[in-house]
Amino acid sequence: MRDVPEHPDWLWSSPEPKRSYDVVIVGGGGHGLATAYYLAKNHGITDVAVLERGWLAGGNMARNTTIIRSNYLWDESAGIYEHALKLWEGLEDDLGYPILFSQRGVLNLAHSLQDVRDSVRRVHANRLNGVDAEWLGPDEVKEICPIVNVSPDVRYPVLGATYQPRAGIAKHDYVAWGFARAAAAMGVHLIENCEVTGVEVAGGRVQAVQTTKGRIAAGTVALSAAGHSSVVAATAGVELPVQTHPLQALVSELLEPVHPTVVMSNAVHVYVSQAHKGELVMGAGIDPYNSYRQRGAFHIIEQQMSAALELFPIFARAHVLRTWAGIVDVTPDASPVVGKTPVDGLLVNCGWGTGGFKATPGVGWCYAHTIAHGEPHPLNAPFSLERFTTGALVDEHGAAAVAH
Amino acid sequence: MAERLSPLARFTPVSADDLRIAEIPFLTQINLRVDPKSRAAADIGVALGAPLPTEPGTCTSADADVLWMGPDEWLVVGARGHDLEATIRAAAGTAHVGITDVSAQRTVVAVDGPRSRDLLAHGCALDLHPRVFGPGRCAQTMLARAQVVLAAREDDGFRVFVRSSFAGYLADWLLDAAAEYLPEGTVTSR
């Protein structure tokens, strides 16, 4: 039996860019591709180019630990992530592509009394928002994930966990390729090795983008460049409240199934699942300083391993096979920015930081709406740039303190 | 009335040919903040028997050990019961200085013997080679996961100043790391 599902025979072609498009999407990651797909599908807008500086979906989309959940604290967040989760639930059929979406549940562990309070708070908030959520005691955690060490004798014992049964993981690359293929089939141009080097603005309105493949005129320019958002926005004179950091992840060799769910622990900075092939996929916290280097520092990995073994003694003799990093853009309130900018026709989708993979279909849906209507969808309206001026932040690190 | 109790009172010293680890409790420690170019700095130096070391990462030893902690900060360390605070205050007069008794803030662990460098290298990222970190050098740095002040003495000796609340952790860590350099059975390993 082959563990790679049969891919379709044709994914996408590589056309030369036209001189002009109705919509140019900057960045061919998951978000850019999903946006293009929903522009075509929901709004019939197909004169669209997705410009990608490297290989398609080779940014954070190729690097994330693929955790999908919607159990965020604030109503605004729950709204958009739950919308995304509902889309995930039908995405394989919608795209006609195997994306290995596995609703194996996500546990968020609590290790201190304050963790417990915050977790319970989030569970209750989730329920009011119609998001499935449970609070589990240590024994129940053990039932769902028998390999978690729930002994009270460890340095930071597991006092309980929140559990979202509908949460899970998907195969990141296939998700990207599924969106790409479907978008390309509807006429969207996917253009690789095409870096946007400037955004042309005249009279307060966007005109075109400059790229390594020449100038491309556009009615609307929609940024979806994740870690590079500030660099691109700056060329249009738009400043964004984001900072770019490396975020590392690693995998083990392939192992027989041991880990049935997804476990995240913010307090000890570990999150881990076992991918369908059998590798343990694991991540930690961001490297603290700004960097575009797509590599992190090694002590972060070492610390992560000691934390991982506290929770999962059974991992002791597994091996780290590969480490890597993505570069993520982090906002002051750990929530994204999706909406308009001061430049007419220039839209921005950024600041998903360490947790935007799960939003892919949801943000694609809402961003496409924003592009098509020139106004945000109600689900992304709270995530405007203005919130930093008014102070109406959607602060997801304060109480929830759960990244990814 | 109960005795004074040092943070590592319950810790059994290690004493082997190659490696010795013991607490030196109850030393007098004064945190001194003063502009090194000021008159007060000079006067304090006179009172302590040697100018305040201004080369980063060095210490002097006269009436007391004076460890460079920062460009305007020193840790003055004297024998148990030595009223250094009064000496320094008197020398400083009314100048703008910061003088704070921190005697119980940190305790001191002596790590001595030819294996001391090997032991510390398990948890300290500094280059401790005698050419680089020989007698008279000191540094604030990390040892394992605790912040420490490290001072090199003659004969492969080190003084490790550690915050009292971390002392138990650090002692456990040192013993665990030391096991390799000690005769079998010296340390009951955890």
């Binding site: 590079h228 964004l240 700004n290 930093f388 | 980063p56 900060e73 990222a125 500094l126 740095t141 912040q147």
Partner: protein, 85 residues
Amino acid sequence: MLLIPCPWCGPRDEAEFHYGGQAHVAYPENPAALSDEEWARYLFFRDNPKGRFAERWNHTAGCRRWFNAVRNTATNEIEAGEVTA
């Protein structure tokens, strides 16, 4: 593990430092006189260049001094001679 040149202690491992973000962002002279936009700019907006970046570091596990350095965020190289106490 970057080797960060503390102007006082010399080069030390990155783990001894706390990152302070962009340098030279002064606290506004008179915050009360700022518009909400200007105040938001001070609070939340920092440069995020790919390339040379003047930034602040605090040698928390060492001398506890803040200092500025110019680092290239594309390569992580800290420019020699650009570290100021």
